[in-house]
Structure formats: C-alpha cells, structure tokens
C-alpha cells in the first residue's frame, strides 16, 4: 500500500512541483496551502509524512509542527520542513520542534524524493 504524503505550501507552483514528484515516486498525495488547512487535512486522514513549508499565512510551519507533535495520536507522522530561509538557527529550531528532517529551498528534486523515501523506510 502506497504511503500517504501531505504537501503544505502557500506557493501554488511549489505545491504543484512537489505533488508531481511525489506522485511520480509512487506516493499517495494530498495538498494544503496554509497551516490550518494542513491541520484539517491531517485530522481528516493521517498522512505518513508531511512536507511542510515554514513561511505560510494562517499558522506557519513551526506552529503546525508543534501541534502535530503535541498530539499523541499523530506521533507516527514524519515531518520534513521546507524553508527558503537557509540560516542554521532555523534548521535547528525546526529539528528542536520535532521535525525529522529539514530541506532548504531551492531543493534538488532527486534529493527530496530520496529523503522522503529514507524517512519512510526507517519507520518501516
């Protein structure tokens, strides 16, 4: 059974590219364009992994990450943060809040797919 991926970003073109990549890699993909929509989507159907943008309207990525980790029912969800802010502090902040990985924009498409695969393989 294919893993379920949720792509969250407020940039429609980025969502479009990630959706294409994940589908091509054989995952089941849903999308959301802001933090609240993302949480609603998770509540509706628990994904295996979230590709989460940081800078978004209506709850940013950090808040979404915190909310996910605060919910014990959602602890199986893997989180990869995506951000255009490349500073080390932001990476650390994301990891500290419970993200499993952290990818800086612009990303290599190949790398994103590999990271997603690795994370899902770890959890089995």
């Amino acid at each position: 059974m294919a893993n379920k991926i949720l792509v969250v970003d407020d940039e429609p073109n980025i969502v479009l590219s990630l959706e294409f990549l994940m589908k091509q890699a054989g995952f089941q993909v849903r999308t959301a364009s802001d933090g609240e929509a993302a949480l609603a989507a998770i509540a509706a159907e628990l994904p295996d992994l979230v590709l989460l943008d940081v800078m978004m309207p209506r709850k940013n990525g950090y808040e979404v990450c915190q909310t996910i980790r605060a919910n014990p029912d959602w602890k199986t969800v893997r989180i990869i943060m995506l951000t255009a802010k490349g500073r080390e502090v932001e990476r650390e902040k994301g990891l500290a809040l419970g993200a499993d990985d952290y990818i800086t924009k612009p990303f290599s498409t190949q790398e994103v797919v590999e990271r997603v695969r690795e994370l899902l393989a770890e959890t089995g």
Binding site: E11, P12, N13, I14, L16, S17, L18, F20, L21, Q24, S33, M55, P57, R58, A84, K85, G86, R87, K105, P106, F107, S108, T109, Q110
Partner: protein, 918 residues
C-alpha cells in the same frame, strides 16, 4: 555748660570706649571667637574712608562749590563695583603670601624687592602727611570753636601760638599714646588688628548717626524741611548756583580726575589697604560690601548740601569757616548736647583715621625701612640678639610718634593755608601712584621690578613737584616765583602747567603727568628689562592666583641646607618662643613631623611666618643669611615654572578631554545602538530578500529538473511547466529590479530626471501597459482623467512605475468575477490627486500603515493569489514623497480599497473633475 573740662573729659571718655571695644575685640580674637567675622562689620570698617574730611570738609566744599564734593564718593562707589574682580584677587594674594601692608604687596609682586618696599614706604609716609595734618587741624579747629560756646566765633589760628600753647600739639601727643596702646601691644604674625577693626566699625556707625542727626535738626528743626531750605537758598543768587552742576571748577575733566583719584585712593591709601585687604577675614564679605558700602556713602552724603546751605543762610559771609558748619550750626541753635556730639563725631572720624593710618604706617616703616637698613648695616648684631620682638615693637612705637609729629609739623607749617579737602587730595594723588604697579602687576606677568621702580619714582617725583612743592611755596617756605614763572624762569616747567599744559586744574594736571610717567615708566621699564627668577615666580603667582590651587611654587626656590633648629631659633627671635613653637607644631601636624635637615618646604613655611612679622623682603634677607646654598638660576626656575604651569595646563586639558570623551562615548553608544538596530533591519531585509528570491527559484529549479528527468512528458503538461518557469523567472527579475531600486532610493544614489510631464498622458500609458492584466482577469477599468493635459514636474519613468504598481495591485486583488477598477485624476487646492479604486476584499485598518513597509504583504489573501514582491508600495511611497506628495490607502474590509496619490502642482485649465464629484 560746655567748658574745656567737659569737652576734654567727653573726648577722653569717647576714646576710652573705642579702646575698650578694641581691647575686647583683641581678647575675643585671641580666644578664637572673632567679633569682626561678618560682612556688616567689614563694610562699616571700610567707612574709615570717611574722615574729618567727610565730616567737616564735604560741607565746607559744598558751601562754596555745590555738588563738587561728590566725586570723592563716586570713586569708591565705582571701585565697589569692581571689588569682585580686583579686590578679591588682591585679598587672595595677600592671604596666600601673608602680606601685611601695601608696601609688602608691591615688594612681593616684584620679587620681594626690599628697595621697592622701602620706596613705597617713603612715598606713603610723605604722601600721607597732609592727610594726617588735616585731621589734626579738624580736631584743633573744632575744639577751638566749641570751647567758646555759646558764642560762635572762629578762634585765631592755633599756629600763631608757640608750640607749647598750641592745643593741636597736645592733641597730637594724646593720639600718639592712643596709637601705641591700640596698635603695638604685641607682634602678630599676620599683622591683623581685630580689636582696632571692631573699634573702627563702631566709630563709623557713630559718626554716621551723628552726622545724620545734625542734618535732620538743621533741615527739619532750623528750617521747615528740605522744601523750605532749598526755597530760601534758591532766593539767594549765590546759593542757587550751588545747587546746579555748572559750578564745577575744572569742568567734567575735574570731576573725572577727582573720581579717578578717589577710586585709587580708596583702594591704595595704606589704611584702606589695611581694612579692605589685610583685615579681611573672609572673601565672601566682599560681596555684601559691594552694595552696602555705597549705601553708607549715600546716607552720609544725604545731608551735606542741606547743612551747607543752612550754614550759608544763617552765618554772615566769612564769619564762620564753612568747614565748621557741622559744629557751628548746633552751637548757633543753642543745642550744646548736639554740638558736643558733633565735636565727638568729628573727633571720632579724625582719630580713627590717624590711629589706623599711623599703626599701619609704623609697621611699614619698621618692616620695610628700618629693619632692612639694620639688616644691611649689621646683620650679625641682629642675628646675635635672642628676642627681637621687643626691638620690633620699639621701632614701631617710635615710628608712630614720628609720623604723627611729622603730620603736626606739616599742619603747622603748610596745612593752615589749605582747606581740608585740598590737603586731602594731595594725599590721594600720592596713594594713586601705587595703582599702576599693583593693578598692572595683577594682570601682566611681564611687569618687572625695574619697571615698577622707574614708574613709581617718576610718578612720585611728578607728584612732589606739582603738588607738594607748590603747597609748601604757598605757605611761604619757598619762594612762590617758581610756581608762577617756573624754576629759573622756565615757563615750560611751571608746576601747575608742565610743558604748557595750563588748562587743567592742579589735581587733574598732577594726575595726568604722574600717571603718564608712572605707567609709561612701568611698561617701558618692564619691556626693556628681563625679570629674574624670583620676579618670574612672584609675577606668575600673583597673576594666576585665582586659578592656582597650590601656592608653593616659590618654595622650590630654596635649595640650600639648614638645620631645622636654626630656623626655629630665627623664628623665635622675631615671634617669641611660644608663637614659634606653636607654628612648628602646626607644621609637624600637617606634614607628619619635620626633618632635622630643613627641606625647602619648611624653609618656605618659616619665611612666610617671618614675612608676617617683618615683611617679605626682610624675611628673605634673614632666611638667606642662615640658609647655605645658592638660589636657583633663572633657567632652573623657568623649568620649574614651566613644568608646574604645564602640569596645570595638562591636567586642565585632561579634564576637558575626559569630559569630551564621556560625551563622545555617550554619542558612540547611541550611534552603536542605532547601528545595531540598522544592522538588525538589514539582516532582516537580507533574510527576507533571500526568502523572496529563493521562492521563485525553487519553482524554476524544481520544474526544470522535472522537465529534464522526464523527456517523454506530454506536450500539454510540458508547456504548462515551461510557462510556470517563465512566469517565475519574470517574478525573479522584477524582484531583483525592485530590490535594486529600493537600495538606490534608500542610499540616495538614484538619479531623478525632473521635468514637466503630462500626468494625464502618463496615466493613460500606465493603463495601456497593464491592459493585459485586466484582460486576463476580465476586470473592467474606468478612467476618469478629464480632457485637458495636466502638467506637473516629475520623473516620468518613476511616476509611471507608481501608477502601474497601483493598477496591478488593484487588478490583482479584484474578485475573479466582475472585477472593477476606477482610476481618477482631479485637482485640489494645491495638488493633483490620483485615486485608484478597486472592489476587492478591502484592507483592515491596522494594515493601512503596514502595507507601505518593505516585504509586508497583506495576509489572508485568497488562495492562488498572484504573489507580489512586497516592495511595490514602499517604492511607490518613496517616489511620491520625493516629489513632495503623499500616498495612502482608504479602505474597510469588504468595501474595496482606494489608493490615493497627491502630487503638488497648481490646478489650471477647465473641464476638470469637480473634487467632490465622482
């Protein structure tokens, strides 16, 4: 009834009271509880200036020359104004250097010159004799008048009698006794006489009260008040003239010279110097005296004119000497009590002057004339005597007797032919000779001993030649022909008209020539001579006295070696063993003991103590006689001086530097904070710009890679992805351009091409450039721009950027269906207004300001919005503001938004929109 017995008994009783006060004052001073340590006593003691000259002579002068008596009081009043600048400096110097007299002061200033001190003393003694003589004359004349009560007749001149039958002679003898009792009871190392000052303060009050009382009685008792008195006088042609200013002989020049003379005399008469400077216990007392002393002068002069006019009205011309009106009026009115008081008031004024003056003079004669001569003549004899304080007292006592007797002689042989005031002015002119060496020496370091000697001698000789000699000639002691025709018939040398200067009165003439020679001699003599080491030291110490904190510069001058015991012996000889050991104990307390081998500081300390007893010049000679070792060379002194002034200057600069540094570091801190804030903003800016750049780049890279790795993609999808890449590239380009624009505007590096442009055409162009956007979204655009060109001055490219930005924002936020945008252009009073109105979601009030900040984007936009750069509005704002205009938004959520741009420019033309329409 007033007989001789009553008068003499009253006089002696009054002097007994004065003596009692003086004795009590000394007791209190010895007990350390001074009774003169307050500004009122100080001010009253200054009124020793008002002698019998004031008490009797002012009325005498007013009776013949009206207001001519005033300059003598204007001078001190003017000097009082200068107290804080001149007197305070002199007082400070005197304290620091333990100066005991005016001779000591001049000598100290010019390198502790014994010659100068002696010269000042000679001038003072000679100069003061006329002054003392008029006091004696006043006492004798008033006594002669009073003893004939109730008849008011002038006694025959006492000088007609032989000496032993002359009351004045006995008056002089009594005064000698009192002066010795008052002034030479012991040798003090500061030469201050607190008791005498207290007595003077008392008698100043006494004579003031008596004089005012007589004035009141004359004005209100004898006459019917000032109105009546002046009316009666005005009826009399002679007297009417006295009340006008035109009677002044010598004119304004005469007034000027008298005022100047009394200014200088007030400061430099020996007794004035004594009460003003030496007896001053606290510099702050000077502040009060500045206004209080002129007030005293004002009060004591208030009734001068009324008494003078009253006397002229009551006594037949010439029957009573006008100098005696003060006494004669109460007698004529048969008021024996008041007459006796008047006599005592005059006696009080005269004796206090004589006592103080002679005590002061005898100290100077002893310290600056006799002692130096003795030291020079036979130092070994002096050094061999165990206790010299007895010798010092003896010299002073003899000095007092000699001076008073000389005053008597002057009175007997010269003074009789002069009015009180005329004799007094001769003394004033002598005292004024000290003004140049002292005042110039206070402010000009370069003034030298030689200059002072030359100037003083010149001034003194002129004084003697133009004032003293003619006075003697008038009294018949020398032929008067040289006064009238000049010596040897040389007209140019006539004493009252030197070198043909014959249009001045004698005093102004004397002041002019003596000051010319005195100042000229001082300045040229100083410039032509080199000051030696000690002159340099003293000069710089005097000039810088108010600036310096430490005053031991001249201590460094002693480099010799001497046993401390030897110094002690020397001091004990002049001060007595008790005072000497007290002094050494004080030193030991301050300096943690004293060395066996005296160092320069201890030598200097001893010298200053000694200077208090025998004057600076003599003290220097005494010390150098026991201190073995050379005095420093001028080069060494210069070095020492330079070093200390350098150190002072350096520390002053350091202080200033540290103040500046503090201010600078505060500024730096603030600048630093500002920089840090700017740095934070820049960081944020860069971070935001980075974010904004990476976002389109992310899409571009992602789709490029997708296209690259999927060569067999369907054509439709491929061209969709390529379209995205193109759009995002355009976005990236726009962003980069705007960031560059913003940076340029922020740093001021942008070039503005300001020219006349047609705003209407500009908006039409902007509409054309954005028509594709409207077409894409199927939104409608209404343009209401009027039909006339609108000329404003501006940068076309920048302004069109603004309008395009507003239009594209408007269309961006329009609803997907039925989007409507209206653009208006219309004139206001002094502006052109552009309004861009959309029917989008509107903007919340709290966002109205924020949207003009960099990278702030309105949150809560609908999904799939076309992203902006977040720089459009901030750049538009900068551009509009540069044109002197303003930009803002009016909007409520759900009501659409109106962006308004106001640009300055006069409204003209017709057919424009009515501002209130549409």
């Amino acid at each position: 009834m007033l007989n001789d017995g009553v008068i003499i008994a009253s006089a002696l009783a009054y002097m007994g009271i004065l003596f009692g006060i003086a004795y009590y004052g000394d007791q209190r001073a010895d007990a350390g509880r001074s009774i003169i340590a307050n500004p009122y006593i100080y001010t009253l003691s200054l009124a020793i200036y008002c002698t019998a000259w004031t008490f009797y002579g002012s009325v005498g002068l007013a009776a013949t020359s009206g207001v001519d008596f005033l300059p003598v009081y204007l001078g001190p009043t003017l000097m009082a104004v200068l107290f804080w600048f001149v007197l305070r400096r002199i007082v400070r110097i005197t304290k620091v250097h333990r100066i005991t007299s005016i001779a000591d002061f001049v000598a100290s200033r010019y390198g502790k010159s014994g010659l100068l001190a002696g010269m000042v003393t000679v001038i003072v003694v000679l100069g003061i004799l006329p002054y003392i003589s008029i006091q004696l004359k006043a006492i004798a004349t008033s006594f002669g008048l009073l003893r004939q009560y109730p008849t008011v007749t002038m006694a025959t001149a006492t000088t007609q009698h032989p000496v032993w039958a002359d009351t004045t002679f006995y008056v002089a003898l009594v005064l000698i006794v009192f002066a010795i009792l008052f002034g030479t009871r012991h040798i003090d190392n500061t030469e201050r006489h607190e008791g005498m000052v207290a007595a003077v303060a008392f008698e100043s009050l006494f004579k003031l009260v008596v004089f005012v009382a007589i004035g009141m009685v004359v004005t209100f008792g004898v006459f019917g008040g000032p109105g009546d008195l002046f009316q009666q006088a005005a009826a009399h042609p002679d007297l009417a003239a006295l009340m006008r200013f035109e009677v002044i002989p010598g004119g304004y020049g005469g007034w000027l010279s008298l005022t100047f003379l009394s200014m200088m005399a007030f400061l430099f008469l020996p007794r004035q110097f004594q009460v003003l400077v030496v007896e001053n216990v606290n510099e702050t007392h000077i502040r009060k005296a500045i206004w209080l002393f002129p007030l005293y002068l004002f009060i004591i002069n208030l009734f001068v004119l009324p008494i003078a006019l009253g006397g002229r009205l009551i006594f037949a011309e010439g029957s009573v000497d006008a100098d005696m009106f003060v006494l004669a009026l109460p007698m004529a009115e048969h008021k024996p009590d008041l007459a006796l008081l008047a006599f005592l008031g005059g006696l009080s004024a005269a004796t206090s002057m004589i006592l103080f003056e002679t005590v002061t003079l005898s100290t100077m004669v002893c310290n600056d004339l006799v002692m130096p001569l003795l030291l020079r003549a036979n130092p070994r004899w002096l050094a061999g005597r165990a206790d010299l304080s007895g010798l010092l007292l003896g010299i002073r006592r003899v000095g007092i007797a000699v001076i008073i007797l000389l005053g008597y002689l002057y009175f007997r042989f010269v003074g009789e032919s002069y009015a009180l005031v005329a004799s007094g002015l001769v003394s004033f002119a002598a005292a004024a000779q000290f003004a140049p060496p002292i005042l110039i020496g206070l402010y000009w370091k370069r003034a030298t001993r030689r200059g002072a000697l030359i100037g003083l001698s010149g001034g003194f000789l002129v004084w003697a030649y133009t004032l003293l000699l003619p006075a003697m000639a008038r009294s018949g002691w020398i032929g008067t022909s040289f006064v009238e025709h000049g010596p040897f018939g040389l007209d140019l040398l006539k004493p009252y008209a030197l070198f043909g200067l014959d249009n001045l009165d004698p005093y102004m003439h004397a002041v002019f020539w003596s000051m010319l020679l005195n100042i000229g001699g001082l300045v040229s003599g100083s410039l032509l001579s080199r000051p030696d080491a000690i002159e340099q030291v003293q000069g710089s110490q005097f000039v810088n006295v108010l600036e310096r904190e430490r005053h031991d510069g001249d201590a460094l001058l002693w480099r010799g070696v001497v046993e401390t015991a030897e110094l002690y012996d020397l001091l004990a000889r002049f001060l007595g063993p008790q005072r000497a050991s007290e002094a050494f104990d004080r030193y030991a307390q301050q300096h943690e003991g004293y060395p066996l081998q005296a160092d320069s500081r201890l030598i200097h300390y001893t010298e200053r103590l000694l200077a208090g007893a025998i004057g600076a010049a003599s003290a220097r000679v005494m010390i150098s006689s026991i201190v073995m070792g050379e005095v420093l060379s001028i080069e060494e002194v210069m070095t020492i001086l330079d070093e200390s002034t350098q150190v002072i200057e350096y520390s002053r600069r350091l202080e200033q530097k540290s103040r500046e540094l503090e201010a600078a570091s505060a500024e730096l801190r603030e600048a630093n904070n500002r920089l840090r804030e700017l740095d934070r903003l820049k960081d944020e800016f860069i971070s935001t710009v980075t974010h904004e750049l990476r976002t389109p780049l992310t899409s571009i890279r992602a789709f490029s890679e997708i296209l690259l790795t999927n060569p067999d993609m369907e054509v439709e999808q491929r061209s969709k992805f390529l379209g995205i890449i193109v759009k995002e590239s355009e976005r990236l380009t726009r962003l980069i351009n705007q960031v560059l624009d913003m940076a340029k505007i922020d740093s001021g590096r942008i070039e503005w091409r300001m020219e006349e442009i047609d705003l209407r055409a500009l908006i039409e162009n902007a509409i054309a450039s954005t028509s594709q956007l409207f077409h894409d979204k199927a939104a409608t655009l209404h343009a209401e721009l009027g039909d006339q060109p609108v000329t404003v001055v501006g940068d076309h490219d920048r302004l069109i950027q603004v309008v395009i930005n507003l239009l594209s924002n408007a269309v961006k936020f329009c609803p997907e269906q039925d989007g409507e945008v209206t653009v208006q252009l219309y004139p206001l009073a002094s502006h052109w207004r552009i309004a861009v109105i959309d029917n989008g979601p509107g903007i919340a009030r709290d966002q109205h300001q924020l949207i003009f900040e960099k990278f702030h984007q309105v949150t809560d936009t609908h999904a799939g919005k076309p992203k902006g750069t977040g720089l459009g509005l901030p750049i538009s704002q900068k551009i509009v503001e540069h044109h002197g205009g303003s930009i803002w938004v009016e909007s409520e959520p759900g009501q659409g938004a109106i962006f308004v741009v106001d640009l300055p420019g006069k409204s003209h033309g017709e057919g424009m929109h009515d501002p209130d329409g549409s």
